[in-house]
Symmetry: C2
Subunit: 278 residues, 2 copies
């Protein structure tokens, strides 16, 4: 499996604020920086009540790169009015990314139980297309994140990297790319070839890591720390790097188990697992 | 969604013994028959301590077709000794299907956390190939069941219908086909075309129905009754029938919720949901 060398240092380590969800963003920033983490991906809930531009400056003052803003998306809905509301929320996300200094917004594209996936996919492409002028003006990209098929009911009708790549091709815009998360994609027999295709499209904007635990006891919040599960992390990183990716390796872990832990200890485990397994 | 007419009657309704798990097989057979169910798929645990040939006769005496035996598979392992043990178990399953009068054994193909999926897939194909002479002699087929990607860690490295079709093509044997279960496959953007391909391969041996609930609270045992979830059942049945399938619609529901219910009442719900939603 170990097809590339271990990472020599932490210079490409990014952690998502949701990974250490109990901490407010100011604490995350200080702790991440102190631990040697070099990038931060900001979840929008952590910005509530803050001056966003000042918060972006605070992060940079800690020496942290602002890697992504999470998240926009959720385009499909059964009424035009709800779809318009979703677009408004995405417009706010783009403004927030611009103010924060984040180069892109990660999209969890959405799905509606009972609405056909074909229709939801059409609404997703239409929704992204509607945002592109604002993206160009703001200098903010949109990263389509394919989600695991177990989220096809109500979170995303985009469930493989092939589908995300197809959308990138259909949208033909330099503002649209892909966020590849090993948790969602590791099982896919087409993963290597689709990562390569994503690279040829110059569309690979983000790379998220964690692990898949056996057994997984919760569909949403039981992700593993790297090395705890069965995902061939180093193999997938090799594919991503062969596709030209040189960005951050972003640690995004939703876990009731880890959120219940002392977050300083957890951050220490993240750094150690990153060195050993990514 | 309703691309085919509702089913005119129960003549193609089959229920899996595991769906009404609290009942011993003799009770299931009597109750299914009394409810108008016409087929039964037998899970091997229900045969423990029984004379299998006599049990098959009992099922037929109730007017039930013996549709499948569940299940064989679990071919991958990290040692040759464990793989040989898995083959032995599959040989017993083929013998049991023959004794019972079931035309095929459904395969949950297996996976090993930490072993590469590529290696597991190779071991699956090798395992199936090793069983083919016995299958031919016994007149029993093997039905590869692609499992949802959320089971790729430890239950199956075969996670799409395309992969199952690829294996059927690679194995080139009239003894090998596919079991298509809507729970595992509904999200797949290639589902319609791969069902058609499976039909062209003359390989579609079984069709399983249930539903996907939102939210799903357990990865294994929270399947929905048809109509409770978001799976476009009638659309998928239309595709399956367009591919030439004329076999049973098999109700396979793993559910702590339903297993805790009065099973007579549950069976009534199954029949009613079958008429309304399949």
């Amino acid at each position: 499996m170990n097809s590339v060398a271990p990472l020599p240092d932490l210079s490409r380590l990014c952690v998502h604020t949701i990974t250490t969800k109990p901490w407010p963003i100011e604490t995350s920033a200080a702790k991440f920086a102190a631990a040697g983490v070099k990038g931060i991906t900001v979840w929008r809930d952590t910005l509530a009540g803050r001056d966003i531009a000042k918060t972006g400056q605070l992060l940079r003052d800690h020496g942290l790169a602002v890697v992504s803003l999470c998240r926009g998306g959720f385009f499909p809905a059964t009424s035009a009015e709800q779809r318009a509301k979703a677009l408004d929320d995405n417009r706010r996300a783009i403004d927030e990314a611009h103010a924060l200094g984040a180069p892109h917004v990660v999209l969890v594209c959405g799905a509606v139980p009972g609405q056909s996936l074909v229709e939801s996919r059409k609404q997703i492409v239409d929704g992204i297309a509607a945002l592109l002028p604002q993206c160009a003006a703001a200098g903010v990209k949109l990263a389509i994140e394919p989600l695991h098929p177990m989220y096809a009911d109500n979170r995303s009708a985009v469930n493989t990297l092939a589908q995300a790549n197809d959308m990138v091709e259909a949208l033909r815009s330099p503002q649209v790319g892909v966020a590849a998360d090993v948790y969602h994609l590791w099982w896919d027999p087409a993963l290597e070839s689709e990562i390569a295709r994503c690279g040829r499209l110059n569309a690979l904007l983000a790379f998220h890591v964690c692990d898949w635990r056996t057994p997984t006891i919760d569909l949403l919040n039981d992700r593993g720390l790297m090395g705890e599960g069965c995902i061939p992390l180093r193999q997938i990183r090799a594919w991503v790097e062969a596709a030209g990716f040189r960005g951050f390796n972003e640690v995004e872990i939703f876990s009731h188990r880890f959120w219940a832990m002392d977050q300083d200890a957890f951050l220490g485990q993240i750094v150690s697992a990153y060195r050993q397994h990514v």
